[in-house]
């Protein structure tokens, strides 16, 4: 399978910040079995501070599989009163979400701006 050394750079980067009363969790890279726990941990931590809403910005996600979908479903179902908004303009996220019908469950946005100020 070619080089078997671990990559020098991780395949995912998760950062969290607040915009007013909203927590924004930004994910770049690949969401799969190996990396999904980092996103889940950031969502849990972000939720714990009691934001008005939690925005999961997946604009820079290049790959997401059913491990990521399961994480999104769990985050959605445990969001309770606090809405979970997902920013996902690209097919890497949109396609698996749509193919599994999860677009009817998740609040999806094309831009962070739209997610921060939904109509």
């Amino acid at each position: 399978m070619g080089r078997m050394t671990r990559p020098d750079t991780p395949s995912i980067r998760v950062t969290s910040r607040t915009v007013g009363a909203v927590v924004v969790v930004e994910v770049a890279g690949e969401v799969d079995l190996l990396t999904v726990h980092e996103v889940a941990a950031a969502i849990t931590a972000g939720t714990a501070v009691g934001p008005a809403a939690l925005v999961l910005d997946l604009t820079e996600v290049s790959f997401l599989d059913s491990a990521g979908l399961a994480m999104l479903a769990h985050a959605h179902m445990t969001a309770g009163e606090r809405p979970l908004r997902v920013v996902a303009p690209h097919p890497a996220v949109r396609k698996p979400v749509q193919l599994t019908g999860m677009d009817t469950m998740l609040a999806m946005f094309d831009t962070l701006a739209a997610a921060l100020d939904p109509a």
């Binding site: 399978m1 079995l33 790959f63 059913s66 491990a67 193919l99």
Partner: protein
Amino acid sequence: MRGRKVDEMATQEDDAVLGNRPVAALHCIDVPATGDRLSPLRQRLSAWAAAVGMSGDRIDAVILATDEAVSNVVSHAYTLARPGTFDLHATHHPDQHQVRVTVHDHGHWQPAERDPGPLHGRGLVLIRALADEAAIEPSAAGTTVRMGWQVA
């Protein structure tokens, strides 16, 4: 890596794009069924599919479907106490206008617990939606997932 790498990717770029000659097969044998293998495998398969001349959308479909099959092996075919391996074969059949990707493990389906796992849920849905043809073949010797895509 334990095991053999049988073939390397082809470099006959022009013929690969035209699909006149088959791109050399990608064989990954005895790959450890661990999560850290997913990303390198996706990259390898992506490069192979590009060499075949598949379009970007089709490559994405091959990558995601194969990732689901492999992820299922990582999740369910073995136990933490007894980690196992899987084989992946990607083959190009220009005379039949087809690429095939096969994932074979040597383990046993674990009983479904609270979390039925990717292939018992969305993973299988994705494979069937993304591949032109898909077959899941469990047996006492392991499970084989066969996926096929039409190519020009």
